[in-house]
Amino acid sequence: MKKRKILLLLALVILLTLSKYKTIKAGNILTTTATTSDERNIHISGTTDPSIYAVILGIYSMDLEFFILTHNPNVTEEEIQQYIQSHPNLQLYTLMDIRSIEVTNGTFDTTIDLGPNQNIDIKNYKSLLYVYASDYDGGNKLETIVQYINNTPTNQVTESEKSTEETANTTNEPTTTIEGSNESEVITEIESTRKADLAGDADNIDNNIDNNNVNTSDSSRPFIYSLLLVMSITLIFNLRKNKDLL
């Protein structure tokens, strides 16, 4: 009898706990990537479970050493605290932007303009921009570092610029924490960015066409009236001519 009561109580506790921790709908974000070719427009895209309706996108800038430290599983909380205490004047991280966007067919894709004067040096990794994406209704969270993509045409890049970039990439790029950035991924990302740009252009063109249509219909009305007037005058003259013939 006692066992039954205990079991019943346990079941009740489990049920209550489950109901209290239940979120509305939760799904998983499968992938997320973030790229930029300048220092303010961050292109973020990714894929999700079909059950996700929207994602929250947060962009943070973070001190590079602090980022590596906090993302190293072997580092203890004490070591992180020691680092914070030993760098009292360092801005460890700053929230640059946070917003949420709708997910369509399991994908999300947006470009966020951080605005001017943000003093971020993504290209040379002096500070690090990273993005987190999480399910709006309570699912998982994924982080990624914003990768710098040089979109400048190669014939316009001087040799000195090239060598600076190479040095920056080889000396400062953390290898353990930054997500894989092989060539094919970069190319894909450039392509997807361009596709998005093209799609944006297409939208603009469509809008222009719509606007033009509206304008055309408005401006065509006097033309129709004039045409009708000319037609009626011609008709009158023709009738008169016919009368003369008659």
């Binding site: 709908k25 700053t94 009626s232 009368k243």
Partner: protein, 289 residues
């Protein structure tokens, strides 16, 4: 005699042309005439199939208005760009729309505009009502297009709130009070804060200045005797907490995002603030969802 015929023909031609031109432009002169007894009133209310929250609690001294749960709206003269607007408590996930009994026409169709197909589940019920079930907290402002059996279209925007904003100032340019605050009076259901008296939900605020610059900050939790303010309504299973942000005349607007606590690699998501967040204009005190 012949001259008379010619004049008659000319007049006929002129008349025909005039009629043709006027008929081309006829839409400009035609106004829809509403039948004397025709009404376009619809009732909107939370579904009784789940808990209905009746919000009444306020912090002492606050005088803001809590939006009603139930609406009876005449949706005549609404358009997609100028819909009728209502505010419903966000935890009422399912709402019911029904035409007034005086309406000569019934609802033929309801569409959620500018959101993905699965955003709102719209179901026609047997009693000529429709239920709208919001499938994510993300959808906090959705415009619906209602088509009646006379093929007339009406537009309704449903804003879903958890925060009602108030201030400790009348005019932002007034010299007093010295410290001016905007309060987010936030209503959440009991289960948002599991087993804790402390308000653990977080409010991130984007403060946009008149010069276009901006900064992010966390809103402060208003406290009573050092404890985060939380006013409970045991009958209705909700509680009220209050967050505040200091502002001055240089601040143009605030964007509020309210999230649940993060648990390592998982998150309990966001409660309100689609897009950049719920916007509060400092000068006009207008809230935009």
């Amino acid at each position: 005699m012949k001259n008379g015929k010619l004049i008659f023909k000319r007049l006929a031609c002129f008349l025909l042309t005039t009629i043709f031109i006027v008929s081309l432009n006829s839409t400009k002169y035609t106004k829809p005439i509403k039948a004397d007894n025709e009404t376009h009133t619809f009732s909107i209310s939370p579904s009784s199939a789940s808990r209905i929250y009746v919000l009444t609690k306020k912090k002492a001294g606050e005088s803001y208005t809590i939006p009603n749960n139930n609406y009876n709206l005449d949706l005549s003269n609404t358009s997609k760009t100028s819909p009728a607007e209502i505010a419903e408590f966000k935890y009422h996930e399912t709402l019911v729309i029904k035409p007034d009994t005086n309406n000569t026409a019934q609802i033929n169709d309801i569409k959620a505009l500018d959101v993905n197909e699965g955003a709102v589940t719209i179901t026609a019920e047997n009693d000529n009502s429709y239920t709208l079930k919001f499938n994510s907290f993300f959808y906090d402002n959705v415009v619906f297009e209602i088509t009646d059996s006379n093929a007339k279209k009406f537009y309704l925007k449903i804003n879903r709130f958890i925060s009602i904003f108030s201030t400790n100032y009348d005019n932002i340019n007034d010299p007093t009070p010295e410290v001016k605050k905007v309060y987010a009076n936030t209503y959440v259901k009991y289960t948002e804060e599991v087993g804790s008296e402390v308000i653990r939900i977080k409010t991130v605020v984007k403060k946009v200045y008149k010069d276009g610059s901006y900064e992010y900050c966390n809103a402060n939790q208003e406290t009573v005797d050092g404890t985060a303010l939380a006013i409970y309504d045991d009958n209705n299973h909700y509680k009220l907490c209050q967050f505040s942000v200091e502002v001055d005349s240089n601040v143009k607007e605030l964007y509020f995002l309210i999230s649940r606590p993060q648990w390592s690699d998982r998150t309990r998501g966001m409660i309100t603030g689609s897009g950049m967040g719920v916007k509060y204009n400092i000068a006009t005190k207008k809230t935009t969802y």
